[in-house]
């Protein structure tokens, strides 16, 4: 794997790891408390 490819894959993984987690946190903040509670309890089950 060349240096460029390695960087690109790394950046994509960072996009998934940081970007998705942050965006989902934003969606959770924007959603109604009842829906957020339901999704949290569903996830914990």
């Amino acid at each position: 794997m060349s240096d460029r490819q390695r960087r690109l894959v790394g950046l994509l993984l960072l996009l998934v790891g940081i970007g998705v987690a942050s965006s989902q946190a934003l969606l959770a903040s924007c959603s109604s408390p009842a829906a957020a509670a339901a999704s949290t309890s569903a996830a914990s089950r």
Partner: protein, 302 residues
Amino acid sequence: MRRLLLLLIFVLIVLAVAFVLSQSLWRWVRGEDEAPVEVPEEGAGPRAWPLLVLPLPAAVAAVIALAEGRLGLLVGDVLGYGLMLGGALLVRRERREGDLTIGSRWLRRWPPATVGGGLIALGSGVTAWLGAGHHPAIGVAFALVTLAGFHLAYGLELPLRHRPLGLGGYGEDALRRAAGSIAAIEQASRSIRQPELDARLSSIAALARQILQRVKDDPRDLWRARKFLNVYLDGVQRVVEGYASTHGQVATPELDQRFRHALDTVEAAFREQHQVLLERDIEDLDVQIEVLTRQLEREGIL
């Protein structure tokens, strides 16, 4: 309706930022420099701005959670964003100022970029767990994905204590390439035929040789001078060779001025690198003196 509007504004901001940054990102991935004569502020290679931009939705989430009075989400978002921001700033600071010395002696063994990568991974895991409401195991998965991405894009390094003592194949190869770069700089400086520039380039080459000699004498310095060996020297070689090839054909005072300014920056960076290696030697000596003093105190000699 209000939420739809918020989401629309957010999507528009993200699209605008993505459009502006994508071109810069493409240049970064292709390894192209924006200013070929100036030595870039953060050196060549991966830059730290994606680490500052990617967590921004978590900051917005924290503001919304605060406005809506949702404590659980607020704690998760603030904690996650704080960790990611702290890690990104640490990485950016190391990229700007070289190998830093931070915190206690224990912490100094760890390269700041590695500490930063760990904090960012932890932050993404916390954000996914407490901020987005995922299961803790999914939070761990997010952290691992982030850590893997950081390793590929920026590189994670071992702490000083666990680093190899010999130069090794990588070290010998790096030193050989560095010596080649210095020889190429000297060769190019001869073709410029300006006594003032020739003297300055000779001084820069001499400084570079001193740094190389220190690395040869103490292989632990290889890790401390890795950026100098892998990035700076290569960049200086390209700039000097580029100037030497264009200088004879076109006389542009502006280019001359920028080249002189670049040489100032390079000389300052090389002196700083040399100083860092000297200071580390003093620090190592300080540790040895402290150990010896404690040993003598234990044995009742002091």
